[in-house]
Amino acid sequence: MKQAAYGFALFVFLALPPVARFLESVMIMHMHMQMPLLVIAGYMMARYFQLWFPGFLAKWNGNGIPGIVLFSIVVMYWNLPRAMDESLELAGSELFKFVSLTFLAGLPLRDSWQKVGYACRSTVFIGYMAISVALGLLYTIAPVQLCNNYLLIEQITLGWGFLTTAICMAVYVVYRLMIRHSEYE
């Protein structure tokens, strides 16, 4: 339960206007810090919901697949340049960003990750890696500004952020494929 409290504190901290303004002032921090941290806040709070609404989660997310699908849709939506741009313009969209990433992505992710099998986890992981490569290439190659609010250089930086994330993930995949924990533990 302590963890849920920390998650909530993180959520409140991220929602403080100066913190939000600061993180949103740089494109890569907006997408690669604020958004993942919101997901993490939800992930940490999930414990609370698991304990208090076990029936609801068992009914709607019995095998974990609905939760993973919900997570994927929400995360994919926030990967669209337009969505990010809009959250800076419309208060409603900003509100939706905070609510959706925390409660519709982070929370179901925690509940589902334990339930789904290895194949599903790998698909999500590899899928996210592929999206990172695609968006990385899009942002580094696109010759025009894709967001109203961020300059071209910030877009290129974010593109490299995606590519390096993908590289880190690839290193991890190779490590998992080459090294069997069972041989060591």
């Binding site: 740089v26 290129i156 490299w160 952020g161 994330t165 590289i167 880190c168 991890y172 060591y184 533990e185």
Partner: protein, 559 residues
């Protein structure tokens, strides 16, 4: 079952009979080169100190900056790299039941690569074709062979790192579910940093080579400097981690105590590995072309590293106090007097730790933007690293040498050599104190670093620096005596001391210590987090430097 029994037997035999001769030869060779580099580097250091004070004039064929290049290179690259590898390979051999034959082969391949690289680096320096100082920043360009030599040296170091990984992985397969012995855990952390930390500088050197040959016209100086410091800063923390391994594991045994919490020790190692590499920017606080926000972020990253250091300081004093009280020390400082002050294996690392207090404080000063403006590129900085690497790291290495060299040479430390070691330690401490304090002070008065003797057209300000430089030269002379004594002790312990068995001192964990969680062994995760943090720290500035690059610089020969 059978294999573990066999392993146990082998371990026992290993303990009883000491190190096997082929493993010993590896460490002995590395140690020999390390201390030969100390001797040579020390001579060059004194030469510099005397020249700088205007007490001697160098001959036509040797310039101050050649000497400075060689001094820096020998002491901070050769000495530290060879010592670290020699020490940890002996540690791996001792704690993991002997090196595997293929690991030994890898260590020798690594050695050969370094030895191939050596003349390629040294000859251009001697010919005055590579007087670029050990930092070799573009746009100063050396002979391309100098950089090719550096590539060989890096490859040699990587080979040794991979050898260590193979050794540890094989041990873990044979000892499923167990924690890697603590010294081998330190070694893993150090070699992980050594490998990942040198990727940046390798990329830098690979872009410099075509430029030095004239195949490309220009180079991006900011990118080169950034890649260089991502490495050199990590190197600094590799020394620190190596020294800390002796503080946590060896020193408690030397004083007859137990080591501090195993969990905390492993946590400190993991924390250093993850947070280290991004700290490099604190060496570039004055560089143009890096935005203030980025510099601020990296100052934060640097200061994070002081957290494990503070934990280390706490751990050490706690170990000392507990042991001192066991020995009957009373009151606030009574325990302090009970320490074995006459034992060089304790005295040297103790002074090393003590020197890290002002050294670390100076480091925090330098990480602060406004204060850095005052001391940047002055003699202050030279004072700082002679205190940190020249004292903290060196005295720890000296302390290690008094048991490690006898251990690998199957000889013993005699009381006479121990006494010599105590004297060396004291001379070193006094010499460094004189040299470092005068360097810090004269730096605050404005004396620049990396400059040979000059009166600046008889400037009065410059003349006011002279007394400090004389003190510097006196300290340097004392240090030279220390270097000679230390080199003699090493030589004696390696080839002359009486034969016998010396123990490899490894302290046990305290009784009723809490179980160390197994996640500490998950190096894959640690490395993943480390890479993520590196990406977070470097993507923004590097993209900016490359996309908004200036025209770039042609090679310059400034000497």
């Amino acid at each position: 079952m059978e294999t573990t029994k066999l392993q146990l037997l082998k371990d026992k035999a290993n303990r009883a009979m000491g190190i096997n001769p082929s493993d010993a030869l590896i460490s002995k060779t590395y140690m020999f080169i390390a201390f030969a580099a100390l001797l040579l580097g020390g001579i060059l250091g004194l030469t510099q100190g005397l020249e700088k004070a205007g007490l001697i004039t160098l001959p036509e064929w040797l310039t101050y900056y050649q000497v400075l290049t060689a001094h820096g290179f020998l002491l901070v690259i050769v000495l530290t790299a060879f010592f670290t590898i020699g020490y940890f390979y002996a540690g791996l051999s001792h704690t993991l039941g002997g090196l595997l034959p293929k690991v030994r082969t890898m260590a020798w391949i690594g050695f050969s690569l370094k030895i191939i690289g050596f003349p390629l680096v040294v000859v251009p320096v001697l010919l005055n074709d590579a007087t670029v100082l050990y930092t070799f920043y573009p746009p100063m360009a050396a002979s391309p062979w100098f950089y090719i030599g550096l590539v060989f040296i890096v490859l040699g170091v990587w080979m040794c790192a991979f050898g260590a990984f193979v050794q540890v992985a094989s041990w873990r397969k044979r000892n499923k579910g167990q924690h890697v012995p603590i010294l081998a855990f330190f070694a893993t952390g150090v070699f992980v940093l050594l490998f990942f930390g040198s990727i940046g500088v390798t990329i830098e050197v690979l872009t410099i080579i075509p430029w030095a040959f004239g195949w490309t016209d220009t180079i991006n100086v900011m990118v080169s400097r950034t890649l260089f410091w991502s490495f050199a800063h990590t190197l600094v923390n590799i020394w620190y981690l190596t020294a800390a391994s002796a503080w946590y594991v060896i020193v408690p045994k030397v004083i007859g105590g137990r080591r501090f919490s195993d969990v905390l020790t492993r946590f400190v190692i993991i924390a250093l590995v993850i947070t280290n590499i991004p700290g490099g920017f604190h060496h570039q606080i004055i560089d143009p072309g890096i935005s203030l926000a980025i510099k601020f972020m990296h100052v934060f990253m640097s200061l994070v590293i002081s957290v494990p250091s503070m934990m280390t300081a706490y751990a050490m004093f706690s170990v000392f106090e507990r042991r001192g009280r066991e020995l009957g020390g009373r009151g606030l400082i009574g325990w302090f007097k009970r320490m074995p002050w006459g034992d060089v294996r304790f005295l040297a690392p103790f002074i090393a730790m003590a020197a890290f207090i002002p050294g670390g404080a100076g480091g925090i000063v330098q990480s602060t933007n406004q204060l850095n403006q005052v001391v940047h590129n002055t003699m202050w900085v030279v004072g700082h690293f002679h205190l940190t690497v020249g004292t903290t790291v060196m005295l720890t290495f000296f302390g290690i040498s008094y048991w490690l060299i006898p251990y690998i040479s199957k000889r013993v430390l005699t009381p006479k050599i121990n006494k010599l070691g105590v004297i060396t330690t004291i001379i070193w401490t006094v010499g460094m104190a004189l040299m470092s304090i005068s360097m810090h002070t004269v730096g605050l008065l404005g004396a620049p670093r990396r400059t040979s003797y000059t009166t600046y057209g008889d400037s009065a300000t410059a003349a006011s620096w002279d007394p400090y430089i004389i003190v510097l030269a006196i300290g340097g002379t004392l240090l030279m005596i220390g270097v000679i004594l230390q080199a003699y002790a090493v030589f004696h312990l390696m080839f002359r001391a009486p034969k016998g068995e010396t123990e490899f001192p490894i302290a046990d964990v305290e009784e009723n210590a809490s179980e160390t969680p197994y996640w500490t062994e998950r190096w894959g995760r640690t490395i993943f987090l480390m890479l993520l943090l590196i990406a977070m720290a470097y993507v923004i500035p590097l993209v900016d430097m490359i996309v908004n690059a200036p025209p770039g610089s042609p090679p310059f020969r400034t000497w």
